[in-house]
């Protein structure tokens, strides 16, 4: 049996959590269960699988962050890898051992060459720089719509890659920065995922989130009801970029290397696939799809290697996407969350 407020879909998205404490408890419980699972995984699985799990968490966080930009606000941005690259390089330069940095990166100013930060401040600065770049770029490109924005942000990836490849003194060129300190383990990845999901969830079910959805549905009408659409779009773009930059920094320190090609257009495609297959705007969908695609590509990798058909897993992912677009263009979960997830975390009483 349901309370009246649950009978219409409008009420579903519009009403804020009625008993926050219950949702909070559910969230804490979920985190505890996840943490226990991670702990168990660390005990029982080999290090490859644990790293894979961390990768999965970061992918899921990326997909969720793109949900905010692409799904909720309807900005079709492909720029995530650009911000990831920026974040990864910023963090890598900050955490790199000061002894080797001076000779490897002669272009660095002295104060940077002698700095050696731990992961946490480096991560924050990476996010900050990513956000500032997004602010500058967003002001320019967010006036574009639909696929114009998509191509402009795709161009941004190439611009950033070009800078990373050619600005040798700071980035060490095409070879990239390897031998980064392995500061990031699975706990960082889990923590990051939790924070990204929590922030996105709070935004989605707040007046801010509703304003974003209004902009997505009809920008003109939203503006007429007093929503500052331009500012809202930049905000969504910047939040997404901050999360992407941090994810880039985390991934670099998980695999201890970053090159200009680490975060490519292919990655932009894969994150978009996760969002589209999950359903634009659905946090649950993004997590489920990110899990499925990460696991699928990893599972296919040994097959690829054994028969020598590199690229097969990408072909399969691309074909899956086309089939989903054809059969279920709204994605698996549409733009909402499945009922049980909503009930659990928004803390509404059920009888």
């Amino acid at each position: 049996m349901q309370t009246p407020s649950q009978t219409t879909s409008m009420a579903e998205t519009a009403s804020a959590p009625t008993t926050p404490r219950r949702g909070f408890v559910a969230a804490i419980l979920t985190i505890v269960v996840a943490a226990a699972a991670v702990w168990a995984a660390q005990q029982g699985l080999n290090s490859y699988l644990v790293t894979l799990l961390a990768l999965l968490f970061i992918n899921a966080a990326l997909a969720v962050s793109l949900t905010l930009t692409n799904g909720l606000t309807g900005l079709f941005s492909l720029g995530h890898p650009a911000f990831m690259t920026i974040g990864a390089y910023v963090a890598a330069i900050l955490t790199f051992s000061a002894r080797r940095k001076g000779s490897m990166l002669p272009g660095l100013p002295d104060w940077l060459a002698s700095t050696e930060l731990s992961m946490f401040p480096a991560l924050l600065i990476a996010g900050l720089v990513g956000g500032l770049v997004a602010l500058a770029i967003g002001w320019a490109v967010l006036r574009l719509k639909g696929h114009y924005l998509a191509v402009a942000t795709l161009g941004l990836i190439i611009v950033v890659q070009g800078l990373a490849t050619n600005w040798d003194g700071i980035t060490r060129g095409g070879a990239g920065l390897s031998g980064l300190p392995r500061h990031v383990n699975i706990w960082w990845a889990l923590g990051f995922l939790v924070i990204v999901v929590a922030i996105t969830w709070r935004i989605k079910y707040s007046s801010l989130g509703r304003a974003m959805m209004a902009v997505r549905e009809n920008e003109l009408a939203a503006s007429c009801s007093g929503i500052n659409a331009a500012r809202l779009k930049i905000l969504a773009f910047v939040i997404g970029a901050v999360m992407a930059a941090m994810a880039g920094a985390l991934l670099a320190h998980l695999i201890s290397v970053v090159t200009p090609k680490t975060y490519s257009v292919l990655l932009a495609f894969n994150i978009v696939v996760m969002v589209v297959i999950g359903g634009s705007g659905s946090i649950t969908g993004a997590i489920v799809a990110a899990t499925a695609i990460t696991v699928l590509s990893e599972a296919l990798r040994p097959v690829e290697e054994s028969i020598g058909l590199y690229g097969m897993s990408q072909v399969i992912v691309a074909l899956c996407l086309i089939v989903v677009l054809y059969l279920k263009p709204g994605g698996l979960f549409g733009s909402g969350e499945p009922a049980f997830v909503r009930r659990l975390f928004s803390g509404r009483k059920t009888q």
Binding site: G146, I158, L309, I322
Partner: protein
């Protein structure tokens, strides 16, 4: 004329020809189905590898040109029939993602079949000689690319502006419903646009291999994106605009590399996409189009 300047000019025009051939098809397809076709660049790759296969099989060059046009046309029609037609009528973003998926699928299938190793690609020896004109000289390959491109574009203009099919294509691009009411078999017209556009892209792949001497399965990605930039320069949806945009882009790139000191030449693509962003901001409908239609 100064040899250096002449060399740069020919080089820019040859590069511009490659971009123009890709951009024209891109623009035709956008014009008729309002689809930014990301897989369009991959037809350049298909054209390049088809050429390589035909050369290896010993087919004479003039025939290769014809075969590559045909292969491009067939590939384009296949993609349109299998993937794009079923999702026609879906949102713009859905269409865009689908083309991205097709592109990724083509690139990775090519990687699977051909491996990522770049292959050498050579025009016959006589094409690599230089020909002189009163004190200056240029490579025959570049000259051939420029001349053949002009012929192909001339042929295209004849088809588009002087035939029943061309009129039907322009009519369908402008108003699909009204075209159907005139008895135009719209699906066939769209197929024709894909066939022509894709054939031109494939030929540009043949030229690409000849100009740069090496090809690999991912070579189509950047020309695809640059075709979009060329279209934006000239106004998306206009064939003449796409052609002009292609030439402007080719010349601008060569100028950029030629004028700036050596260490900046790696920033070539960075420069192109910064140019794109700047043009989109200043004149979103292109440099040669009156500012009327909203870019939505």
């Amino acid at each position: 004329m100064n040899q250096y300047l002449f060399q740069q000019l020919i080089n820019g025009l040859a590069l511009g020809s490659l971009y123009a051939l890709v951009a024209i098809g891109f623009s035709m397809i956008y014009g008729i189905v309002r689809l930014i076709n990301f897989a369009h660049g991959d037809l350049v790759m298909i054209g390049a590898f088809s050429t390589l296969a035909l050369v290896t099989a010993g087919v004479p060059w003039p025939l290769i040109l014809v075969f590559v046009l045909a292969i491009g046309a067939i590939a384009g029609m296949t993609i349109e029939t299998i993937v794009f037609r079923p999702i026609r009528g879906a949102s713009q973003v859905t269409g865009f993602i689908a083309t991205l998926a097709v592109s990724i699928a083509i690139q990775n299938s090519a990687l699977m079949i051909l491996s990522g190793q770049p292959r050498n690609f050579l025009f016959p020896a006589f094409m690599r000689q230089r020909v002189g004109f009163g004190g200056v000289n240029a490579s025959l390959t570049d000259i051939a690319i420029i001349v053949l491109t002009l012929l192909l574009i001339g042929g295209l203009f004849l088809v588009v502006y002087r035939t029943r099919l061309g009129t039907a294509m322009r009519a369908t691009a402008e108003n699909l419903t009204a075209a159907r009411l005139m008895g135009v078999a719209v699906n066939r017209t769209i197929l024709a646009a894909f066939a022509i556009g894709s054939a031109l892209a494939a030929v540009s792949g043949l030229f690409w291999g000849g100009k740069f001497g090496q090809i690999d399965p991912l070579l189509g990605f950047v020309p695809g994106l640059k075709a979009f930039v060329a279209c934006v320069i000239g106004g998306v949806g206009s064939i003449g605009g796409a052609m002009l945009g292609g030439y402007i882009l080719g010349l601008a790139e060569v100028l950029f590399v030629g004028l700036l000191p050596q260490e900046f030449s790696g920033y070539r693509d960075t420069f192109v996409f910064l140019l794109l962003i700047v043009i989109l901001l200043i004149r979103p409908s292109g440099l040669f189009v009156r500012q009327t239609e909203e870019r939505a």
